[in-house]
Symmetry: C2
Subunit: 415 residues, 2 copies
């Protein structure tokens, strides 16, 4: 992979395209030999193309296909291939159409985007003006695509991945693959590893990998077989075994998003939830309401930082605050029950704790958090945790613990 | 820059080290020629080191210095340099000390981390076990550092940047530099550009750059001069001019964080704020409470998604909801005033809108948001905006608009 663009070398824009492409390659059993980022400099781009083409079977070059002066990639590609640039008629037609539809005037520069190295195969860009072109340099097939992530992703999906799949088949690949990502939350990577390791010997045709997106850890499974049926069968077998050992930490697979899974579970159960949070400061509510249609299940939330707010909004008795202390199982429980009643919701969530950096006591140091869920029957379950890390991390993990209490309660529809 | 590690090539861990290093280089007037990522493969690492050393003055190699079998970098570096590996006594002593202090048993592998290419200069790692070593390959100075971001950053700060500064001076650099980042919010990049462009000709010794961190846009200024005083003077002059044209969109500089600036302004004014949010679902509260010590200024928040919650928590009259509609200037205003009074706060913030994807009307399509601030005197200011993008973007921008109303109100301490 070769990514071009000055903006990649001054720290202003991280390269998010390559990691995305790598994730698409994994199910094909492929990973890149190397990734190189260079600026908009003719000799650097040329050198990088030559070096990569000399040892890779396939090269993906991105960026530098725009209409401006510092967009050099098509020119350099032609130079490396030893061919002239040629106008690609259908591309120029489509650029003119695009601009006409939007009522924008064409500048002479725009015609530049229709120039491609002679002999290259050209594919239309469904998401922008710069076409994708494909060029053989020696034994290396080079794909040239736009660097704008939306266009990059569209072209990789439409052109590059199908070509790679076809090539794997044409190369007489007798290996078929099936992939799945299993997603867990609040299960440390070392624990995930310890649970999965014993399964590895029984599944010799499966590759296991992990990916951390704190507080989530994802298990990546890639099964291989001599037919698609065999690969699918092996994946199903290993997935069953993994689901069993991951247990309640498992919340979804592949493209599932945690908060969507949770909102969907509430909706399916026709249940609503209300939230009274202190140390998480609104994160529990905002994670739930990030989901489209959350209003079906979200009955309301309060951020009760002060004792007064805890009393007013969640009806926590002043006497209890004084007796048990604001950071206590009793107050978490009262927040959950109080907000459930105040909002007329099926479930109530309460969170209180010391997020730091200041605060905390000898018995309840910074990182101590109490989360509680009140269930439709009125019963309450409280979880006490001691969370590591800075304020941001404590808030993030505390939010995850509160939402997990809710997810498990909804799964059992009770506690 | 050369980054090694299989995890960089399967999409599970993005390379965040290089963009960070680039940002540190900018004030020195430096940017990398290229960045290459390779896996834990002996021949790929060796080839990449050779290729880079053949044309760069300085090479930073990161990763592959751990105790495990796939940590190959020291070995490969020695091979490329044509020297043997040698145990570095002080490093081995310090590793033993480190483990003894933590009461962890040493494994034979740990001794591997004390091996460095013969003749290399060695620097202790303040944040981990793997030392940093420096090796000349031809005319290229190669720094080898650990890939764990905490260790990487510590070693770049302690060893690499001072060496680069010294080298620039020794090379007889007669150019001195001074850098500043000016941070704006809710000012589109094209508008930022249009405001700054007229200033460019008057400041020929200043480089201008931008960086987008939506909803923020940052202006990067790098002034050069024949002395430090001259560079500082030029920076001061351009900064003055820029601050003037950026006006109220400017909220801070360099390491300032938006929410910290806002909380600090409230604290300095001895003012508190309460929040009643609908479509932002808790984001306004969570952004404010992300700041350590936010409890000094945050009086409470409610996420009033439903009409019932708007009435109960922020005392919005049912009659007003029916008459003006939940998404209206009147309701935003009532939310701000109501929550201000309910929490006894100095300021109240109210937000209501259609975040989408569903909802909206002909006059108030998805993306329509009303944000309001109620000030200590009781006056209210409302802002109506039509925000582009998906639900996530509308929520993010709506939050920024609400917080901006507050920031400007606090700056004027009124409206």
């Amino acid at each position: 992979m070769l990514c071009t663009g000055d903006e990649l070398l001054d720290g202003s824009v991280p390269d998010t395209n390559s990691p995305w492409f790598m994730e698409q390659l994994a199910p094909l059993g492929l990973r890149p030999l190397a990734v190189t980022l260079v600026g908009d400099r003719r000799e650097e781009i040329a050198r990088a193309i030559r070096e990569a083409a000399a040892r890779a079977d396939v090269l993906l070059v991105s960026g530098g296909l725009g209409p401006t002066l510092d967009d050099l990639t098509a020119e350099v590609a032609a130079e490396v291939a030893g061919v002239p640039l040629e106008e690609h008629g259908p591309t120029w037609d489509s650029i003119q159409r695009r601009f006409a539809e939007r009522g924008i005037a064409l500048s002479p520069n725009n015609r530049k985007q229709a120039l491609v190295p002679a002999g290259a195969a050209v594919h239309e860009n469904p998401a922008g003006s710069a076409p994708c072109f494909v060029l053989d340099l020696g034994r290396c097939t080079c794909f040239f695509v736009a660097g704008v992530p939306r266009e990059y992703q569209a072209l990789v999906q439409a052109v590059v991945l199908p070509a790679l799949r076809a090539r794997l088949q044409a190369d007489g690949a007798r290996v078929f693959r099936a992939a799945r990502v299993l997603k867990t939350v609040l299960l440390p990577e070392s624990h995930l590893d310890a649970r999965i390791r014993p399964l590895v010997p029984a599944h010799p045709h499966v590759r296991f990998g992990t990916r951390t997106r704190a507080p989530e850890n994802h298990l990546k499974l890639l099964a291989e077989g001599a037919s698609q049926e065999e690969a699918d069968g092996r994946l199903a077998a290993v997935e069953r075994a993994c689901r069993e050992v991951l247990g309640e930490h498992l919340f979804g697979a592949d493209d599932d998003r945690y908060e969507e899974v949770l909102v969907q579970a509430l909706r399916a159960a026709r249940r609503t939830v209300a939230v009274a949070e202190s140390c998480t400061g609104g994160r529990v509510a905002s994670q739930l309401t990030a989901v489209p249609g959350a209003s079906d299940v979200f009955a309301g939330g309060v951020v009760a930082y002060t004792e007064a707010a805890k009393q007013r909004f969640a009806h926590v008795p002043a006497e209890l605050l004084a007796r048990a202390g604001v950071v206590s199982a009793e107050v978490a429980s009262a927040l959950a029950s109080g907000i459930r009643e105040a909002c007329g919701a099926d479930y109530g969530l309460g969170v209180t704790g010391y997020a730091g950096p200041a605060g905390g006591t000898a018995e309840k140091p910074v990182g101590t958090v109490f989360a509680a869920v009140a269930a439709p029957g009125g019963q309450v379950r409280v979880r006490r945790v001691l969370l590591p890390g800075d304020r941001e991390r404590v808030q993030r993990l505390a939010t995850a613990h509160a939402l997990e209490l809710l997810r498990h309660a909804v799964a059992g529809d009770g506690l």
